[in-house]
């Protein structure tokens, strides 16, 4: 749906990593219109990857390490919860196998 958007947003992020910029500066270096850049910046800002501040008459955009950190922490929580569940099920199965010994022992290990 939004492949161009993805590429443009990536390009915007890469430029902002190099130095904080205003919309006009970003648009000047990209093959998209200024309103399009504004739109992407809004998305990035919503995603909290980018933050902005007013400097005189200009609005300057920067990458937001705090937002990026929160995204990372989000996934840390997801994976730690998922793996905890995985461990609970795996350990229960291991215990059952050890406990029920021969009964559950299967010869074929094909599937």
């Amino acid at each position: 749906m939004d492949a161009v958007g993805d590429g443009t947003r990536r390009a915007i992020l890469e430029r902002l990593l190099e130095h904080p910029s205003a919309v006009g500066e970003l648009a000047a270096g990209l093959p998209v219109s200024r309103p399009a850049v504004s739109q992407h910046l809004r998305v990035l800002k919503q995603a909290r990857l980018v933050t902005d501040r007013q400097v005189g008459t200009r609005r300057i955009y920067t990458v937001d390490p705090q937002g990026v950190r929160e995204v990372r922490e989000y996934w840390e929580r997801v994976w730690s919860q998922a793996l905890a569940r995985f461990k609970a099920v795996a350990d229960t199965e291991a215990q059952l196998r050890a406990g029920s010994g021969h009964e559950e022992k299967s010869d074929g290990d094909g599937g």
Partner: protein, 151 residues
């Protein structure tokens, strides 16, 4: 460049389980539905009834609802049964994103298995994924809403 380090998103998670390697791998993949917290970590949330990892490079990783709706989470990029798998990871989004999840299974000293997961690459190369992740504060419901609205 300091900035770059700050936004180099990289998540590691590890767990040691009592099952031997082959079986741990099998549980992780073939029977992911038996442990994945679908109710809270899925696109379809309460409606999600199954999650599937197709056991082949190029295979889909997806969740499904009881009435047959599916949502792709990613695509298998590496498949070494009992040892390692890798997949692209973009729950709730149809597009190809550069986020990658790699899971390695190695023998633990006590006969169990160390499972090490590495999730990388969504900052500069996967803005869309981060965008979703930011929406996921209360689970994946907002993604579902967006998904449905977009259809």
């Amino acid at each position: 460049m300091v900035m770059e380090a700050d936004v180099a998103l990289e998540v590691r998670a590890s767990v040691t389980v009592a099952l031997p390697r082959e079986e741990a791998f099998q549980l992780f993949t073939e029977r992911i539905g038996s442990w994945w917290p679908l109710a809270t970590h899925s696109v379809f949330h309460a409606d999600a009834v199954a999650v599937t990892i197709e056991p082949v490079v190029g295979g889909r990783v997806y969740e499904a609802t009881g009435d047959g709706r599916t949502s792709d989470w990613g695509t298998i990029t590496e498949w070494q049964p009992g040892e390692r798998l890798a997949m692209t990871w973009h729950p709730g989004d149809e597009s190809d994103l550069a986020t990658l999840v790699e899971v390695t299974f190695s023998e633990a000293p006590d006969g169990g298995t160390d499972v090490d997961l590495l999730h990388t690459g969504w900052a500069v190369h996967g803005a869309e994924a981060a965008e979703q992740a930011a929406d996921y504060q209360d689970g994946w419901v907002p993604v579902l809403e967006r998904f449905v609205n977009a259809a």
